[in-house]
Symmetry: C2
Subunit: 404 residues, 2 copies
């Protein structure tokens, strides 16, 4: 399906469709072309979220949203987020081709900047829609080259007129299909999962200050070696998470100054990604990591100048009615499935703050994502789309019954 | 002295006079203006080394070189290298003001790119002069922004005509004054040191390859986390050096890819600076570091793609006649001194391969260098210059006696 669009692939078969780059502009234009084939009206809000709305019987009702994202990591794959939007388009196409008139309108949504790889934080478009961030704050975010989100949004022509707001631009619900991004479904040989919620997570920026010293003349025992200290912290952060079932902690970004081979670094910045099964465990993990890093800094005569938890998202529990409809749809479709908590954040985390939300995961090869090797079979993708269609029709019938 | 030139200081009082940048051009022009006051002819060789030659009685003899460097680290100080050139200028001025005619000519030298901070490796200008590197190879070296050394040398107008060669552009000897860059003289309350040699050293570039994985969904125990592996190596490299008296090992440069907060790094590059009191200990240290890093990589399922010892310099032992003349000069001057082996590389390491060479160290505050806090007192700088003058005059007399 959707074979008319050939993505700009990277040489390794992956994607580099960073938020608001030229590939993002191109895929957005392709998305709008597609949905117009299915009798949709398109609105773009002030943060670039695209809503393709197919009318129903009762257009006084807010649409049922089917959304995900089309942006990728710098060296991402072709499935993370993209499968969710394509599954929603497949539902749209199926309703259209079969002349099915739903009770509520349907909105297929491309949320802006889910990855947060170019402009931090992640899930920005859905976050602004949910009122978690202001549009002005989002516009002010810059990438590593200093480009502003707001200026890039205007550059690619996707700063729309529709207010970015769950109140001014309502949805009745939000469904999202996504690759699992983990190894569980493959291990259990199941094509799909009913997602009951999303783990708690937080992001930190840490800055350390030591002293520039000559690598050839400064005795090993009288150094304030900032990069060594950061390395000790990275090792300790990993050890804390390894010892905490249900918890994860990762350091994937590091910047040392002055980057001279024979001069010890005097300043190091790194980020920490911390996640846990629930909010209490997240707090525990954060506290243990902070304690260990303070001990290491003190022993090293290196100062922790910045310890900034610049983003956090508590555990999300999805709407039981929505989840039950996904469960029924998977079960009636005859698909082997399990219930699962998502390890990754998704736009559904933010929609869940404002409207009933549920997710469907599909199996992905070796649990790999954020990597060109990311892969799901056509059969599993079809299974996810079929479960999505069934869940949407069930929820649509539920809305009809409610308004009787 | 030399107060006519005000260096472009950084806001913290340091210097950012990286090789071949506009500040380097400016200080070179200042240097040439200065030496012309002292009856010198100036030649610039094809790598940008500047020779200011003051004639002697016997100009058939190659000049006695008094050299050091005027480039600095990215966040360097105002003494490392610079004191050596200023001391040589002070000797020149003293000979000039007192109408002293030496037997051999005197050459005050500004060697190009001693620091190697912008264009690796260090001591490039003296290295090409000594035949350790070819000019073509030096021209091809690039900085982090991709600028070529050869193009930058032409840009600032210092690609001269004089051949870069110890044979075509001879010296009789090379003396160098330098700040100690270590804490020993301050600890022993001595203004100067007689340098007997320079420790062995080598530089490595290491590249690791792991796998990009999602920080939120990849279990802690099934990761190929490249940055974690690099951190474990940095900690291990430090531990090996701590356990090896007479040895040093440092990691000060690191680059991770793709630098996305929620995607584990798949590629990390870092450098290692290894030094030891002698060549055998250096080899032992290098072997232990390699062994530890191989163990760590194997345990982490991360591949060492590159392990490149791209530069090495064996232990240097300075010329005994030259060293004895520095010793006599310090002793006759009534200065408390000690003998010392240099921990840092200097241009004298390369001149020593081709001509009799000796160095004089002066005390620096807390042993700090490669840092804006770098400092030596005017009294200690004057002591170094006085010892240099005495040693040069002694060696000049020695040359006269030899040619009788």
């Amino acid at each position: 399906m959707e074979s008319s669009y050939i993505a700009d692939r990277t040489s390794d078969g992956g994607m580099n469709r960073l938020t608001l780059n030229d590939d993002d502009k191109k895929v957005r234009e392709w998305f709008i072309d597609q949905v117009k084939n299915y009798g949709c009206t398109v609105t773009v809000d002030k943060i670039g979220n695209i809503f393709a709305i197919r009318p129903g019987k009762n257009n006084a009702l807010p649409p049922i949203g089917l959304g995900s994202h089309l942006d990728t990591q710098p060296a991402g794959g072709k499935y993370d987020g993209i499968v969710g939007v394509l599954s929603a388009l497949e539902v749209l196409k199926t309703l259209h081709d079969n002349n099915v008139e739903t009770y509520a309108p349907i909105a297929v949504i491309d949320w802006t900047n889910e990855e947060g790889a170019r402009f931090s934080p992640a899930m920005m478009g859905s976050g602004v829609w949910a009122g978690v961030f202001t549009p002005e704050w989002a516009y002010s975010r810059t990438d590593l080259k200093g480009a502003k989100f707001g200026e890039e949004l205007e550059r690619i022509g996707f700063k729309g007129d529709t207010p970015v707001s769950y109140e001014a631009n309502k949805l009745s619900a939000h469904f999202e299909v996504h690759i699992e991004q983990g190894p569980v479904l493959q291990a259990e040989n199941k094509p799909v999962a009913v997602v009951v919620g999303v783990q708690a997570m937080s992001w930190f920026s840490v800055e350390l200050r030591g002293r520039e010293q000559h690598c050839g003349t400064t005795p090993m025992d009288s150094r304030a070696d900032t990069l060594l200290t950061a390395a000790q912290m990275i090792v300790a952060i990993n050890a804390v998470a390894l010892a905490t079932p249900g918890g994860l902690a990762s350091v994937a970004v590091i910047n040392a100054t002055p980057q001279a081979i024979n001069t010890l670094a005097s300043h190091v910045q790194f980020n920490i990604d911390v996640r846990a099964r629930d909010d209490a465990l997240l707090a525990l993990l954060e506290a243990e990591i902070a304690e260990k890093c303070e001990e290491i800094a003190a022993a090293a005569q290196v100062k922790i100048e910045v310890w900034d938890r610049f983003w956090t998202s508590p555990r999300t529990t999805f709407d039981e009615t929505m989840v039950s409809m996904v469960r029924q749809s998977a079960s009636d479709g005859g698909f082997a499935f399990r219930e699962i908590q998502s390890g990754a954040g998704h736009d559904s985390v933010y929609t869940a703050k404002r409207v009933p939300t549920a997710m469907i995961f599909i199996r992905c090869k070796d649990g790999i994502s954020h990597n060109p090797a990311e892969y799901s079979t056509p059969e599993d993708i079809a299974a996810g789309a079929e479960v999505l269609l069934g869940a949407v029709l069930r929820y649509d019938a539920y809305l009809a019954s409610q308004s009787k």
